[in-house]
Every structure is written in C-alpha cells, then in structure tokens.
C-alpha cells in the first residue's frame, strides 16, 4: 500500500531550498503591515526609543566635552555605527528572544517536525519590521557623525565603515544566537541574557577607555562590543588607541564577528543537545 505513493525528496536547487524561508518571512512581513495605523505606531515607538537613546548621549556630552578621547561629534559616529548594526540584527534575529516561550508552551516541537534545520527555521520564523525606524535613527546618526567627526574622506574610511557595520551586524546577530542557546538551560533566564545582549548594545555605543578593567575584558573581548563601533571609529579617525585596545584593532572587527558566531553556535549546539537529552 505504501508503495503507491512516491517518497518525498528534498527540493533540488538553492532557490527551491530557500523558498520555505522566503514564504514564511513574506507572510510575517505582510501581517505586520496589515494594520496601517498599528504598524505606523510601532514604527513611531521604535524610532522614539532610538531618539531617546541618542538624546541620552547628547545630555551626557552637554556636561563633559571629552570622554575616552572622543567628543560628541566622534561619539555620534560610534553611536550611529553601533545602533545601525544592532537594530538590523534585532530586526532579523531579535525574535530568538521568544525561545523561552516556545520551550514553556512546548511549541518548539513543531519546528522539529519540519524538514529544515532548527536554528535556520527559528531565525526566519519572524522579522520585526518596526526596528526599521530605529535603524533609520542609527543610520542618520552615522551619516551626521561621518560628516562632522573629521573622518577623512577616502577608500580607507569607506572600507572601515563597511567592515565595521557588517561585522557589527554579525557580532550582534551571533550574540542573539548565543543568548538563545543559553535559554535551553535557563528557561526563565531571559533577564540574564538580556543583560548581556541589551547591556552589550549600550556598551557598544560608548567609548571603551572609560570602562573599568573587568568591563574591558567582558565587553571588550568576551562579548566583543568594542569591535562593533568604537574600535573601527578609532581606526577611522586616526585616534591613538588605549591600553589593551590599540588603534589597529579596528581592522579586526570581522574576527570579533567570527568569535561571536562561534560562541553562539557552540552554545546553540550545547543547548539543543541538552533539550534532546543526547548528553552535553
């Protein structure tokens, strides 16, 4: 009886293999835009958060002129790079935060019953379009920062900009995966992982030399936040580096991205093994 039906095989070709993810994402995007007023308010709210965070930096610098060797104009560049990279990562990876809900409700099992890799399914299970507003604030800050910070125009700056933002995006994305992997153990640990994900975002918008030594270790290297914006900006502006964080490290932003993903995938693998009970 079973032989009357053909066995289902995976589709051939990259385009066909990507189609499941594309269809889910398109559907999520459509449903978020379905209610115009609500979507506009979401966008507005998200943009407002970005502006408030920018205002916070501005307030700080109306009291001090220089912090960690940078003035407000230079910090604008750091803030812009970090916030643009983080908002884009949040847009495409931020919903990994909802893993604890899936775990508690048992709905993660539905993902196991579909013929795609688990992590890839979860990443492409949603997209938070409202983060576009915040990315726009970051992008605007970055544009203004580039114009007023005294960064020299030329291919070197362009290269650092591209490397910095792309690596920053990847570093933050890896951080979301990292946090998600740990959720398998923590269950109610979203508070704990939020501390390093959102704390990391906040740290990334600051000049690293103001940090204490332990903070430098934590957000300079272990969660490599200094590499997402501050270090590329230092290199770009030709500023002298500081202890532990020399100026040439700005070129090493991709290494931080690789580290973040390596740790992220390691924690994910470890978490999934724990969930399935196949041993640590």
């Amino acid at each position: 009886m079973a032989s009357t039906r053909a066995l289902r095989r995976p589709p051939a070709g990259l385009r066909a293999r990507l189609r499941p993810y594309r269809v889910v994402l398109a559907s999520r995007a459509r449903s978020q835009r379905a209610y115009r007023t609500s979507f506009a308010m979401d966008l507005g709210g998200s943009g407002l958060i970005g502006l408030v965070e920018l205002a916070e930096v501005w307030v700080l610098f109306s009291n001090v002129t220089v912090l960690g060797g940078m003035g407000f104009r230079q910090i604008l560049l750091v803030f812009g790079m970090a916030d643009l990279a983080f908002s884009m990562a949040d847009l495409s990876f931020g919903h990994l935060d909802s893993l604890p809900d899936y775990l508690r409700a048992g709905t993660l099992d539905a993902f196991y019953l579909r013929p795609q890799p688990l992590l890839l399914q979860l990443i492409t299970s949603d997209v938070s379009l409202r983060r576009l507003a915040r990315a726009a604030v970051g992008g605007a800050a970055l544009g203004i920062g580039l114009a007023v910070s005294g960064a020299p125009w030329g291919p070197r700056t362009a290269a650092l900009l591209v490397i910095g933002v792309a690596s920053g995006y990847a570093t933050f994305a890896g951080l979301f995966v990292w946090a998600a992997g740990l959720q398998f153990f923590l269950l109610d640990g979203a508070e704990m992982t939020n501390a390093f994900v959102y704390g990391g975002r906040y740290a990334a918008t600051q000049p690293a030399p103001v940090w204490s030594r332990p903070l430098k270790l934590v957000f300079g290297f272990f969660f490599p936040m200094a590499f997402t914006a501050y270090l590329p900006a230092v290199t770009m502006l030709g500023l002298p580096g500081s202890a532990w964080l020399p100026a040439w490290l700005g070129w090493c932003a991709p290494v931080a991205a690789v580290w973040s993903w390596a740790m992220g995938l390691l924690c994910w693998r470890w978490g999934v093994r724990h969930y399935q009970g196949g041993g640590g």
Binding site: A2, S3, R19, V23, D109, L113, P115, Q276
Partner: protein, 322 residues
C-alpha cells in the same frame, strides 16, 4: 521502491528513555520509557494508551527525533529519527491535540500555504491536496478566519489537515479528540478512516477516548510506567479486562433491583430504584436487547449508554499485569 518503503514503519528494540528529575533536594532518575520493543507494519492503525505520565509522549518524541533515546534503538519509516530528522519530517505528520502547529494570527488558508512551501509541494500538489482536505474535513467555511478565532473543533480539523498536507506515510495523533463534541469527534474519525483506506496511511494515536480506539484502531498497545502492558486487538483487550458498557435507565416508578436480566448485570440503584445501572458486554448482546428486557419489567422514561472508561480499562490492565 527503496528498501525503506518495504519494512516496518515503526520498529523499536529495547527503547528506553530516562530523565533526571529534581525531587525536593535530591536528583533521581525517572524512567519514562523502559525497554519498549514494538513493530508496526505499514497501514496499521494503532491505539497507544496509558495513564498520564505512562510514557506516551516521550515515545512519540523519540519516534519523531525530538528526543534522543537513553538506550535501545528506534527506526521510523526505516530512518533513524534523530540523525535523519529532516528526511523523516517529510514522511511523518504529527497532530498534538493540546499544542497548535498553525500560525495563530494567520488565516487557515495562509497557514496551509506556508506549510506547503515548507514541505516543498508543487503548486499542483498543493492545490490538489488542499482542495481534498478542505472538502473532507469541511474547512471551507472558515478558511479565511485567523486561527485564534476558530472554535476548538474547527481548529482541530485545521490541525489535522495541516499535519496531513504533505501526505505523510505515518500520522501520529496525540489526543486528537480531546475536548471535542460528539459530532466533531465522529467527523474526525470518519476522515481518518477514509484517509487510511485511500492512501494506506499508518495511524498511531494516543487517546483517553475509548470511542477513538474502538472505531479507529485494529491494534492496541497499553503502556504502564514505560513498559508494554498489553499488545493486541480490542476484542482481546475486552476479554482480558472485561470492558463492559453500562446502560443507565430512569424508570417511571420505583422498582426492585433489575437482577436476573439476560446478558446484563445489575450494578446499582438510586432513588429507591428510579435510576438503575446495568452492565453488559457489547460482544454478547446489544443495548437494544438489554433495553427490551428492562421494558418487559418496568416502564423506561429515559436512558443513557456509558462507554467503558479508558482509564478504567487501563487501570484493570495495570492490575492484571502487576
């Protein structure tokens, strides 16, 4: 056809799963599934029953590659569930009665469209299969309604359609009729029977509903504390535990206990004999014959037939095997 199409659709050998659980301060080892050895041929319809916590869900999770066994081996559709999970997903459909696999904020139609893309159905296959399921499960009235607005009966039918969209060879249903009204249950059962007849689909279902087992299953596995307590057909199960139905009659006037009726045993009387409960074996006689016998003795105002309680059946099986 390849070899994996020929052999048993489920084959476990000494399948075991342990969990470490916290018991107050100490940790102890809980054996959820204990040396389960089962072989299910393609096309079978198997009822997998047991008390809550007997190990049913753990077994299903190991069959589908969600959980890694602690010991023993398992093959589903000829594949190893954990390493071959993605290939297996193309051949298995699972319905969890309590947990939705649909997108709660999307219309039913949209959920089907996404699942068709996930399972890489061609446009023709998708249109064909969706139309068939919509007709058989009577989904037409609420295809454009978001899942969160569906009644339980509507949602379950949509869930079943979603799990069967890719025409799986094996369909696993975990409490598919829980909470459904009689009509919805009946519709769902009829659909599963016809799906099995038409496509040779293998069914494995866990249930607390004896009606599901009686109408759908030709083989029953009872699991107790992770061990197989019974493996056989329904008649055998009834013989083993004497699963009887109960006829409840309300009489026009108080009557003495209706003992000595042919084929029925008096269980109890209430209100001085106004309501009496009579047990009978559905294999030996029918509710109508028992009713006729009662009518000869007293005037019957109202009646109800109680199905044997699966919990009761399981309890008796447990008592026998210990």
């Amino acid at each position: 056809m390849s070899a994996i199409d020929q052999g048993p659709i489920i084959e476990t050998d000494g399948l075991t799963r342990e969990f470490r659980v916290r018991d107050g301060r100490r940790r102890r080892l809980l054996t959820a599934v204990d040396g389960l050895t089962v072989r299910v041929e393609p096309g079978a319809a198997v009822g997998y029953i047991g008390a809550n916590g007997a190990g049913k869900s753990t077994t299903i999770k190991m069959l589908t590659g969600i959980l890694v066994p602690t010991a023993g081996s398992v093959r589903t559709c000829g594949l190893r569930p954990v390493p071959d999970r993605r290939r297996l997903a193309r051949q298995v459909g699972v319905v969890f009665g309590q947990r939705s696999q649909l997108w709660w904020d999307l219309p039913v139609r949209e959920s089907f469209r996404i699942l068709a893309a996930i399972h890489a159905l061609t446009r023709a296959e998708e249109a064909d299969r969706t139309a068939g399921l919509v007709e058989q499960l009577e989904l037409g009235g609420f295809l454009s309604v978001p899942v969160r607005q569906l009644s339980l009966g509507q949602r379950m039918r949509a869930e079943v359609a979603a799990a069967l969209l890719h025409s799986p060879r094996l369909v696993i249903l975990d409490e598919p009729t829980i909470g459904l009204d009689v009509l919805s249950k009946q519709r769902l059962r009829e659909f599963l029977i016809s799906e099995r007849r038409l496509h040779g689909t293998t069914l494995l279902l866990t249930t607390h509903d004896m009606g599901d087992v009686e109408r759908l299953c030709d083989r029953i596995l009872v699991i107790d504390h992770g061990r197989l307590a019974y493996d056989g057909d329904l008649q055998g199960l009834s013989r083993t535990v004497g699963a009887q139905r109960v006829l409840v009659v309300d009489l026009a006037a108080p009557a003495p206990d209706l003992t000595g009726l042919d084929g029925a045993v008096h269980l109890s009387s209430e209100a001085g004999g106004l309501r009496q409960r009579l047990a009978f074996d559905a294999e030996q006689t029918t509710a109508l014959k028992v009713l006729a016998a009662v009518s000869a003795e007293a005037e019957v105002l109202d009646l109800a037939v109680e199905e044997p309680d699966i919990e009761d059946v399981v309890r008796r099986i447990y008592a026998e095997t210990r």
